[in-house]
Symmetry: C2
Amino acid sequence: MSDALRQFKSEIFQALAHPTRIAIVETLRDGELSAGQLIEKLDLEQANASQHLAILRAKHVVVNRKAGNQVFYSIRDPALIKVLDILRRYFYSQLSSTVSMLEEVAQAGSFKK
Amino acid sequence: MSDALRQFKSEIFQALAHPTRIAIVETLRDGELSAGQLIEKLDLEQANASQHLAILRAKHVVVNRKAGNQVFYSIRDPALIKVLDILRRYFYSQLSSTVSMLEEVAQAGSFKK
DNA sequence: TGTTAATATTCGCTACTTCGAATATACTAT
DNA sequence: ATAGTATATTCGAAGTAGCGAATATTAACA
């Protein structure tokens, strides 16, 4: 696999490597929203939201459409939604193994004197 | 959706947001390898490889097994492989649309006297 | 034309990431 | 014990990402 392709992939991952940008993508899951609607739903600073949207645009994660005064955003490729769904399940399975690990530790602790 | 879950997801993406770490994960796709084998296959600096492996370990993307002198790494959860597979298709579809865009631009350019 | 509303960009600051060099740790074998 | 090999950690420098405040752009409409 070429270095250029890996560079490209890592940039996509980087684009999603922020909780606010994940929140934006998840919120766009059910259809397009204007920047203003996103700001309200997610309670973001205007400038901050615009910066995050610029990053998502630059990496073609989202796509935008101007309508008069407003700019509507939507997800470019639904495959991304699928990825986020897998990660949710992944998160919970990891959580439960972490919990059992903690339980083991607690159990071991209780044997001490 | 909870902030904790978004934080978690963004940390996984962050863990993969580097070409070297993508290379490591892709190389481990077909089974475990020692740190040394990874370093040789990917032509990495020893310290650098170890730093990247530490990041992947911290985020539980990979798991390690010590055998004498060596440390063998493998991918912790096959769900991640699935994510990478989905993203591979995503990357190619994005790549090809980017390429066609570039071709259009080139085409347009060729009309300029 | 001037004012307001929606969104984007720039700026300075702080915090994080990445790197290679150096050093530390851990295991093996002599 | 000591030498050698495999891997990990620490350190400081250089680069990059994130933030809010301020400012710029664009469109709508009086």
